[in-house]
Symmetry: C2
């Protein structure tokens, strides 16, 4: 039995996220159907990170098992010829049967993109949160650094989402400006649902001068979602990379 | 009477080009309707450069006349609130009544974008020509330099398109690689229809080793469209800037 691992990239704009759900179109469903056509058998696909509706992926990692002898190169080409243009297979490799895209992951890196210009761009609209007033990225970067380390992130989780523990360890978090684009990059073993988008929404309050870094620390420590900022729109979020 | 000049940007994917045509949706038509709602009167809009179906613009310039006293800032904001998200007004200014977006133009700069990777990107798909085999950009740049100066560009014009003269003066032409992206940038007082796309299609023949720079010179000198390469797809072409 082969354990095949694919790195895939997708534009999440037209999908209700990665994971199969009844009555709506998801990337997993599209992928299942395409893979079945190539392999001539159904298979379970495991994904490294779940992406919510409208969220994009540059480096989603998935794996599945098959006994087919198809070459990796032919598998990539076959899938890319069947898949819609907003979903692409970038790389394929084989791993030991114990490898699991989700459970073997050491870290996931997400990038949130903000376009900070007076007027939005017709080209970037689906890939950024457009903010027309000037943001102070230095203050945002100071606040981002606060989340590095092990913390209870209840203040930034999706309301009503229940976990065994709301503690997560963040390895990296920073905010950088490159011209008119602002990137919030963060890496962790795992994230709570909406965590990156809720942190981004709160970082924007800092960038606009509405709250201070000290207040950001208080919000984190309060463990209360009601105290944090708004959830940043899905369209600015990218699953950048999964490390194993 | 005021002569108002706007710099606009648009994603041409969903339009049949700039210029109004019966039965199809064009950017000019959308713009006419939006402007009429703001000004409360119909007006003629002059554009600096015509863009064909599917071609994008980062710096299209248009002008129109009005007696309305609306502030430029309010005009931009009003238009951007009415226009679809793939058309944006970036800048507004007033000029002398003699200014004409097309006739006053000193030069137009176009950029053609090629994505040179084994597999296409789901994010760039609408904005590039994806070429999966490795292109020799140094040879392409050598050939691009050949078109600089005054030449009869009949070999690169749209078939059956008739002009008083097929001679155009090209001020600048070069091919640069930035990672996986290849940019062909060219500036001229004016271009023949399809000229940039037909030159791009022929430059790609050079980049792939199918023809030499010497053969490219022969194609230009032959003044015969039959000798040149294919027309590059519209989606990789951007009207970058118009100088006055």
């Amino acid at each position: 039995m082969r354990n095949i691992v694919l790195t895939i990239s997708y534009d999440g704009t037209n999908y209700h996220g990665w994971q199969c759900q009844p009555d709506v179109l998801t990337i997993q469903e599209i992928f299942n159907n395409s893979l079945k056509k190539i392999l001539n058998h159904a298979t379970t696909i495991y994904a490294g990170g779940r992406t919510d509706a409208g969220v994009h992926a540059m480096g989603q990692v998935i794996n599945f098992h098959t006994e087919r002898t198809i070459e990796l190169r032919s598998l990539i080409q076959g899938l890319n010829s069947i898949l819609p243009r907003d979903i692409r297979v970038k790389h394929a490799r084989e791993e030991d049967i114990t490898f699991h895209a989700r459970y073997s992951a050491r870290s996931k890196t997400y990038v949130y993109c903000i376009l900070n210009t007076p007027y939005n761009s017709p080209f970037l609209n689906s890939y950024v949160w457009h903010i027309h007033y000037q943001l102070n990225t230095s203050a945002m970067d100071d606040a981002a650094k606060v989340i590095v380390g092990e913390h209870d992130f209840s203040a930034f989780k999706k309301k009503d989402e229940v976990y065994k523990s709301n503690v997560r360890e963040v390895f990296r978090a920073n905010v950088k400006r490159r011209g008119n684009l602002i990137y919030f990059v963060t890496e962790a073993k795992g994230f709570l649902r909406y965590m990156v988008r809720n942190i981004t929404g709160t970082l924007v309050l800092i960038g606009s001068g509405k709250i201070t870094v000290e207040e950001f620390i208080k919000i984190l420590n309060s463990k209360d979602r009601e105290n944090a900022g708004p959830t940043a729109p899905a369209r600015g979020l990218f699953l950048r990379k999964i490390k194993y």
